[in-house]
């Protein structure tokens, strides 16, 4: 039976200012969803909130994974439950080798009851798996010994996120603008990577401004966010239309949200 990630009437504020104003979204394992919308509409906030970033204040609504109240869990427990966020801006951790980091991450996520200091997955198996996954998404094996994201180019960082995705095999993955700032070769590599990983056991939410990532990973559903709400849901053709014609038509169809969006922009 496939699991569901269910977001209901989610309301979120940062420093008292409402950002998400009642988001509803259901993703099943195996489905690909696209989330589009103009800058500042709340897409990345949604991604961070699902992953559990502490700076957001949940003012209402719920997030559940197969009935488990996700909002009660810290980011570590959410990861172990099978939620993964590919960061738009992956963080640099100086002095921590990629292979050490990944071995800890994999050990924790595959053995959710693992306590700190308990055994890691066997080095030999892990090395082989890491090598295989790296070659699949075209990352030089030399990166295993480098410090995490330290001195990596934009494209290298994004590939590193996909590598983590491929090793952690989450039930639900959110890709936050994984295609932004990449040249077309890098987008192709990342897209193909996601395409290989996607299957009946992984639900994917792709946040993007562009259509390129979606060419390789055709969404069953496309959602449009405006001023902190999902205002429209369609199929792949909606993504295509937004990409070709922009958000003007969406704003016309949803004047109330467009006005709110305007107000926020003016205030800022």
């Amino acid at each position: 039976m496939s699991a569901i990630l269910k977001i209901s009437d989610l309301r979120v504020a940062v420093e008292g200012k409402p950002i998400l104003k009642g988001v509803n979204l259901e993703i099943r394992q195996g489905e690909i969803h696209a989330l589009m919308g103009p800058n500042g509409c709340g897409k990345s906030t949604l991604a961070y909130v699902v992953a559990g970033h502490p700076k957001y204040e949940i003012t209402g609504g719920a997030i559940e994974l197969d009935g488990v109240n996700v909002l009660e869990l810290d980011p570590c427990q959410r990861a172990r439950l099978g939620i993964f966020l590919a960061f738009q801006y992956p963080v640099t951790i100086p002095g921590v080798k990629v292979s050490d980091f990944l071995r800890h991450a994999v050990s924790n996520v595959r053995n959710p009851d693992r306590k700190e200091g308990e055994g890691l997955i066997p080095m030999k198996d892990f090395r082989k798996e890491l090598k295989d996954r790296m070659s699949e998404i075209d990352i030089d094996s030399e990166f295993a010994r480098r410090y995490l994201n330290d001195g990596f180019s934009g494209g290298e960082k994004k590939r590193m996120e996909i590598l983590q995705l491929s090793l952690l095999r989450p039930r639900f993955a959110i890709l936050d603008e994984t295609d932004s700032g990449l040249d077309s070769d890098a987008v192709r590599a990342v897209s193909e990577g996601i395409n290989k990983l996607h299957g009946p056991h992984m639900g994917v939410l792709i946040i993007t401004h562009h259509e390129r990532l979606l060419e390789f990973n055709k969404p069953s559903f496309t959602h449009v966010m405006l001023a902190g709400k999902i205002v429209e849901t369609g199929d792949a053709s909606l993504a295509h239309d937004l990409h070709a014609n922009g958000y003007a038509a969406v704003r016309e169809r949803h004047p109330a949200e467009a006005a709110e969006e305007q107000a926020v922009t003016v205030k800022a």
Partner: protein, 459 residues
């Protein structure tokens, strides 16, 4: 601290000798008498004791005024003999070193071992081929007896008793420590290790180490230290004197992990001659208060000095550590890299001096201090001093203080790391540039100790 794993202790009722508490001339005479020392050493001790009494307590650094010198045992001998086989070491003591993993490490990767328990070295070994090449690795008391001329030529010359109050104290009551002589051109591949263990409450351990690395020779010496956890304090006050002659290389690595009731007040100094390289790798994880600034006097052109310092100050700890580089000759160079971490209300201070004597032209010195503060209760300070009497020199000093980043923590936690595990990983990464300089076994040990410090630390 609950997470200090070396806090156990052995019974003391079978000790061969235990001095009464307190410090006076009689105690010093008694120590010298027991050791059957020559008159010059007894005189040296007595005059050092006078110096100790005369010198005021340092008014800077840590809270040394809380030390009650009359409540301390200045000399304890736990075993009758210095043994060459672990089997001959009394059982309690042997078990302690087993728990510390010393005999096992010795089998695997050490060229020689000295184990000091309370005031005396109770076990010593050195690989046979090194002994054949003329390498001396013995306890300092035996060196005074067996190599009197070599001993007297250097002893107390690098750090005279009047250098500071605690050097004077050590000079008065010293016992044990390592004596190393590496003959010209002899290169010792594997580390020589000494392990210092305090067992009794209110114990004072005053080892005295003297190391001479002759021309073109090289060696690496490692010391480790632990003590039981008691409610009242013990004192460790060592003096370490080192000479590295022309073209020699020497590295002295310390992994100090005293329990949190030990005052650790140590004077360490090396003199580096022409084209030699002296390195201190100084890891301070334990103790209540550490005041230690390993120094290198660059005596002749081409001498290089390097100090890598790691300090971890946890709850109830003050690590006042650093380095001193004294450029006495032209064309000498020095480098100091210091990384400190403070956590749980601990305080880490970097205190360093770069001094350039008149005429020491074309000297280079580079000092980098990075501090990582893990919470708002903890504190970090930097006290860099520069005294330059020559202006044709290049001095660089960089310092940074950072707090552990929320974004870094979130990133690691979103990959399944607990908050404690994520913090430990960030800290381990922070000191990695220094830890990777250590031989593998010590790097593993250092990382393990850091992880222990980080465990159970966060909500």
């Amino acid at each position: 601290m609950d997470d200090y794993q070396f806090g156990f202790h052995d019974p003391t009722d079978k000790y061969v000798f235990k001095s009464r508490r307190g410090l006076d001339r009689e105690i010093v005479y008694q120590i010298s008498e027991l050791k059957k020392e020559p008159k010059w050493m007894r005189d040296f001790r007595i005059s050092s004791l006078e110096t100790f009494f005369q010198k005021p307590m340092p008014s800077w650094g840590g809270a040394v005024e809380e030390i009650d010198f009359q409540n301390i045992f200045y000399y304890m001998k736990a075993a009758a003999n210095l043994e060459k086989s672990w089997e001959d070491v009394p059982e309690d003591i042997r078990k302690t070193y087993d728990r510390l993993g010393i005999p096992e490490a010795e089998k695997k990767y050490l060229a020689g071992v000295k184990a000091q328990y309370e005031s005396e070295v109770i076990y010593g070994s050195l690989q046979e081929d090194l002994a054949k090449q003329g390498v001396l690795f013995t306890d300092t008391d035996s060196a005074l007896r067996d190599h009197p001329d070599l001993f007297r030529e250097y002893f107390g010359k690098i750090i005279p008793p009047n250098d500071n109050k605690f050097a004077a104290l050590n000079s008065a009551v010293w016992s044990g420590g390592s004596f190393i002589y590496v003959p010209p051109g002899v290169k010792i591949e594997f580390p020589l290790q000494a392990y210092f263990r305090i067992n009794s409450e209110n114990m004072g351990q005053f080892e005295r180490t003297l190391i001479i690395v002759d021309e073109g020779a090289s060696a690496h010496y490692v010391e480790g230290c632990t003590a039981p956890t008691y409610s009242s304090e013990s004192l460790h006050s060592a003096v370490v004197e080192i000479v590295v002659k022309r073209g020699g290389r020497f590295r002295y690595t310390t992994i100090q992990n005293w329990s949190n009731n030990v005052y650790n007040l140590v004077t360490k100094r090396a003199m580096a001659y022409g084209d030699s390289l002296m390195e201190w790798v100084d890891g301070n994880l334990g103790s209540k208060l550490t005041m230690k600034y390993p120094s290198i006097y660059l005596m002749e052109p081409g001498a290089r000095g390097e100090t890598l310092s790691i300090a971890f100050a946890n709850h109830g700890q003050h690590q006042d550590a650093g380095a001193k580089m004294v450029h006495c000759a032209p064309n000498t160079s020095s480098r100091v890299v210091s990384k400190s971490i403070s956590k749980g209300g601990g305080r880490a201070s970097y205190r360093g001096l770069v001094k350039v004597e008149k005429g020491a032209t074309n000297c280079k010195s580079n000092v980098v201090c990075d501090a990582l503060i893990l919470d708002s209760k903890s504190r970090s300070d930097t006290y860099p001093y520069i005294e330059a009497e020559d202006d044709q020199i290049s001095l660089e000093h960089e310092a940074s203080v950072s707090k552990i980043g929320e974004e870094q923590l979130f990133y690691l936690m979103s990959r399944g790391m607990t908050e404690a595990e994520a913090s430990a990983m960030i800290v381990t990464g922070f000191i990695e540039p220094l830890v990777k300089e250590l031989p593998m076994e010590y790097a593993v040990e250092m990382n393990r100790l850091i992880e222990l410090q980080m465990e159970g630390s966060v909500g």
